[in-house]
Amino acid sequence: MIQFSDVGFQYDEGLWALKNISFQAGKSELVGVLGPNGSGKTTLLKLGNGLLRPRQGEVLLEGKSIDSYSRIQIAREVAMVPQQTHFHFTFSVLEVVLMGRFPYLKRFEFEGERDVEIARRALETTHSIEFASRPIDELSGGERQRVLIARALAQEPSVMLLDEPTAFLDLKFKKEIFELISSLVRANAIAAVVVSHDIELAAKYCDRIIMLKEGEIVFVGKPHEVLTCESVEYVYECSVVVDENPVTGAPRVSVV
């Protein structure tokens, strides 16, 4: 589980990108982070990963400050799925997923049977096992994203951080990914934080939603509670109408 305790972050001596951030994501919990661009969403994830160190407050992993973890130890606990990854050199899908085993292997060690097993299982779970020997750059956006999630799974993390995982995907894949994430979170008892622009899908699949505006948490709570006309309009500064999706019952945001 991951916890932000009154975290503040400042880039150089300028604006505070994040202020007074306090929240947590526990086992099997999927927390969605919503907000306009520039509200500090990506910074939040980087703090959760230990890539950035907070100026104020602290980030806690399994109750311990993230500062007490080494890079490798963090990588064993926290896995990040970026928006997009460009591979400058071609690797096969299996090789990419095996990269997730990096934190567990010693310097000159080669992957053993267990590692391969974990990788295969991750591929199966993400329905990408059939591309195992195909080059990563031949896959479509959706397929590639699934592979990246598999890589994250191979890290055997207790926390997963996802940075707009559906940003460049087709409608069909957007839903698929969210479903996948949701089921993974439950099946593997992972605490996940998802940053997204996809309000509807986040609303449907997340257990809790956090809304950020200008670096601060303005609303937090269950999707139904948080996603109201007023809150969305305030955060995104545009006129919307929020009602219920007739089929799923999840909050539906429509721009007017």
Binding site: N49, L51, R71, I72, I74, A75, R76, A79, M80, P82, T85, H86, F87, H88, F89, T90, F91, S92, L94, E95, V96, L98, M99, G100, F102, P103, L105, R107, F108, F110, E111, D115, V116, A119, S133, R134, P135, Q155
Partner: protein, 343 residues
């Protein structure tokens, strides 16, 4: 261009197996090179020189042991170093155009060596040391110029390398143009590469650096694999990117610096061989490192043999031969991979 992929994960056995095959090929190449040259020497002669030297003419023994052998070994070590350096630079900068020559590291090393010669050091430890310093300074310059908030931007690094290359080469040319006659000749060789004055002592100094450097770099082979997806990705997975970058650049600079100080500037080795290896065997650095290194050794031994036999008794500078082989290959790469490199 097809990139071959592995069915299963890479195993130590595969790496060692392929390396052994290459080592055997290397042994054969060395043997063949000892037979080739201006003087007519046969395989039998070569065997006799090493086994029972009483039946061999003195001149043959000398030619094989004092002229050809030191030269062939140094060529192998230089090829080993430059090729490995090229592979590592390409991985670090995520750019297939990077190699010690393109990034200016070789010319920085040559510049250091030239300074050492001017200051009066002969080929003891003075020249390689200065060459190493020259290499370090160059790589520092190149990285400093191309560093951005998010890490090193590789296309800027390449450009910086081109400029640094031109700068140091110009300075070397300056020294050549203004030197007195006797220094002139020893400096000309910096521009084309010259293995004709090789001595065993050069190889003795280069070998430990090359081998130690190889193992050090190999310990970072997986780190380099992870860098292929970007520095951030690697960081997420637990790679200490700063440290990996620093150690690798330093290691390559040292290796290349030492090699260049004895052989002069030889280009294209670090460009061609890693690419060929990648085309045949995929992108896993754990396999590519030994293959590139050994392949580079093979390549340069072959190039040097060609350089001294094609126009016998005259000699082509070995850098000319590698350029002849490298430039067309480069053009081929550009045509087949085209715009993928602009990303």
């Amino acid at each position: 261009m097809e990139v071959k992929l592995q069915k299963g994960p890479l195993t130590a056995r595969r790496v060692i197996g392929i390396s052994l095959i290459l080592m055997v090929a290397l042994g054969a190449a060395i043997l063949i090179s000892l037979v080739c040259g201006t003087a007519k020497i046969s395989f039998v002669d070569v065997f006799r020189v090493f086994s029972d030297s009483s039946h061999v003419r003195e001149s043959t023994k000398l030619i094989v042991l004092r002229i050809r052998l030191p030269r062939v070994i140094l060529a192998g070590l230089a090829g080993f170093t430059l090729s490995l350096g090229g592979l590592v630079f390409q991985a670090l900068l995520r750019n297939p155009l990077a190699d010690p020559f393109v990034l200016g590291v070789s010319s920085g090393a040559a510049f250091g060596a030239v300074i050492a010669i001017i200051l009066g050091f002969s080929f003891g430890y003075g020249v390689p040391l200065f060459a190493f310093l020259g290499a370090i300074i160059t790589i520092y310059l190149v990285l400093a110029i191309s560093k951005r908030a998010m890490g090193v931007e590789s296309s800027t690094a390449i450009l910086a390398g081109v400029i640094v290359n031109a700068f140091f080469t110009a300075i070397i040319m300056f020294f050549i143009a203004t030197s007195t006659e006797d220094r002139l000749h020893s400096m000309l060789f910096w521009l084309y590469g010259d293995l004709s004055q090789s001595r065993i002592s050069y190889s003795v100094m280069t070998a430990p650096v090359a081998i130690a450097g190889f193992f050090l770099l190999y310990s970072f082979s997986r780190h380099l694999n992870l860098l292929a997806a970007g520095e951030e990705s690697a960081l997420h997975l637990g790679v200490n990117v700063e440290r990996a970058r620093l150690v690798c650049f330093l290691a390559v600079s040292l290796m290349v610096g030492v090699a260049v100080s004895f052989t002069g500037l030889i280009g294209f080795v670090g460009l061609i061989v890693p690419h060929l290896a990648r085309m045949l065997l995929g992108s896993d650095n754990r396999l590519l490192m030994p293959v590139s290194a050994l392949g580079g050794a093979l390549f340069l031994i072959a190039a040097d043999t060609a350089a001294r036999t094609v126009m016998s008794p005259s000699e082509l500078p070995v850098g000319v031969v590698t350029a002849f082989l490298g430039a067309p290959f480069f053009i081929y790469l550009l045509k087949t991979r085209g715009s993928r490199w602009t990303q």
